[in-house]
Amino acid sequence: MVISYREALNQAMREEMRRDDTVFLIGEEVGYYQGAFKVSKGFVEEFGPQRVLDTPITEAGFTGLAVGAAMAGLHPIVELMTFNFGMLAMDQIVNNAAKIRYMSGGQLCAPMVIRGPGSAAHQLAAQHSQSLEAWFSHVPGLKVIAPATPHDAKGLLKSAVRDGNPVIFIEAQLLYATKGEVEEGEYTVPIGVADLKRRGRDVTIVAYSKMLLVAMEAAEALAQQGIESELIDPRTLKPLDLDCIVSSV
């Protein structure tokens, strides 16, 4: 079936919340407003305000609350209205969520997903146009995912919820309305496995998230000039599927 990236995320979270009572959604405007980008449309109606929690505009406070809840056995999905606001929660993400497993010697962990849109969109200006995935990717203990297609968005978000680690899941505002084929029924996409989008012998292009769509156009343009490019979408930035990239190069 063909659905939007937004709908794919909605389905992933809905399926995971139906599967597991310990999964809950927390963030600004996720409930009665239906999500700032309408990703959680219909959630508060289906799951109730105990599992779909509208928060005050306090990223450190509610992200930290989610980390504590995860340490106590729950599986939070934190929606950051955008990752630009996530910098206010950096202490919670880096010092608590990412490190608790290590510094407790494996006694505690923070199985959770921190998701929302990142990168640039339509003239959002300096403070709302940032790609922060490199920051997160440098923090031991975090996994970082940035899917480009509805299929991968759905399958990877479901994997992220079940992963057992804190997972940074970066969406792109310009992708929410894009459409694509997803499998019927239940499926997941494994974390850390790249997707070879196109085979070619002349050059390797690695692109993720919104830039994958740009790179696909570029590959077509190159092909018209007789240059066959190989296009790889890593999908996951941490862990990165280096084998796939290296063998292509």
Partner: protein, 322 residues
């Protein structure tokens, strides 16, 4: 509280005191590295408050955490081994002094970014509320955390969602070297910060373990009954420096001030009370000293005899399944 209760409170405070005095010695001998923040002088707060908890309640603390961990019942040998950085420590030597964590005793740490663990405490409390359990959270922090943004965000969410968390502010009057008068606008009544969020609050003499115990029991019972969060300001004093790198007096406080505060040593206060009320004899305290001395010596021997973690341990416990 009967004689046994009082002896138990004294025993726990004495264990923390002697354990930390020995830790300081071990630090001087370079057996312990890194930071070491001693709780000496403040023992009545952890011991009095934690005595009011059940085993399934969660306790969480800042980096001055040896006292809370021991009061929670952690094995002194494993705690000392953790300070030594040994593989037999509570956290396999990966936590250290500032990140003591003991899940078995529901001691959730040990956090070293000031103010950063208050949101975690609200999350532990949220989990209890979400799963309709009746456990509560005791969250200890210094007054230095009170003006931090994360503390305010935690107070607001705790009050907004009526979370079962007891915020226990250990007001020892100095955030490292800065006196509270130069750090908190409402320094005359630190608890007012919590009240401004609609959180009930009370000040207690943090050198008087019986007062802390009594107030904490009432507060824990109230919070457990679903009445929302509570803020206790325990007025206390740190007899030692901020850390081992900081002398007890010098730049920011005088020897006279420290000597004056030492007259209200929480161990001395309880001991005098028990002697006056004929609840214990000098002999009882001597016996206890010997017993605690043995426990601390055993803890050091255990830590000394234990191995350092294998270097490979650097790469384990980073991700699930490591």
């Amino acid at each position: 509280m009967d004689r046994d209760d009082l002896l138990s409170l004294y025993r726990q405070m004495l264990l923390i005191r002697r354990f930390e005095e020995k830790s300081a010695e071990m630090y001087a001998l370079a057996k312990i590295a890194g930071f070491l923040h001693l709780y000496i002088g403040e023992e009545a707060v952890a011991v009095g408050a934690i005595a009011a908890t059940r085993p399934d309640d969660y306790v969480i603390s800042a980096y001055r955490d040896h006292g809370h961990c021991l009061a929670r019942g952690s094995d002194p040998g494993k705690v000392m081994a953790e300070l030594f950085g040994k593989a037999t420590g509570l956290c396999k030597g990966k936590g250290g002094s500032m990140h003591l964590i003991d899940l078995e005793h529901h001691f959730m740490g040990g956090y070293a970014i000031v103010g950063g663990h208050l949101p975690l405490a609200t999350g532990l409390a949220f989990a209890a509320q979400y799963q309709r359990r009746t456990d509560v959270v005791l969250c200890f922090f210094g007054e230095g955390a009170v003006p931090s943004g994360q503390a305010h965000e935690a107070f607001n969410l705790a009050a907004l969602w009526k979370l079962p968390v007891v915020f226990i502010c250990e007001n020892n009057r100095y955030g490292m070297g800065t006196p509270v008068q130069r750090a908190i606008a409402l320094y005359g009544d630190v608890a007012e910060t919590a009240r401004s969020y609609g959180i009930d609050a009370q000040r207690v003499d943090g050198m008087d373990v019986l007062a802390v115990r009594t107030v904490s029991q009432r507060v824990v019972d109230q919070v457990r009954a679903g009445k929302g969060p509570y803020f206790i300001e325990a007025v206390t004093y740190r007899f030692m420096g901020h850390s081992m790198a900081d002398p007890a007096h010098g730049h920011y406080r005088t020897k006279e001030e420290v000597d004056e505060e030492r007259k209200r040593d929480p161990l001395v206060l309880l001991r005098n009370t028990m002697l006056e009320q004929h609840l214990a004899t000098d002999g009882d305290f001597k016996v206890m000293e010997r017993e605690i001395g043995g426990i601390v010596a055993d803890a050091v021997a255990f830590a000394e005899a234990s191995a350092f973690p294998d270097p490979k341990e650097l790469f384990t416990d980073v991700y699930a399944g490591d």
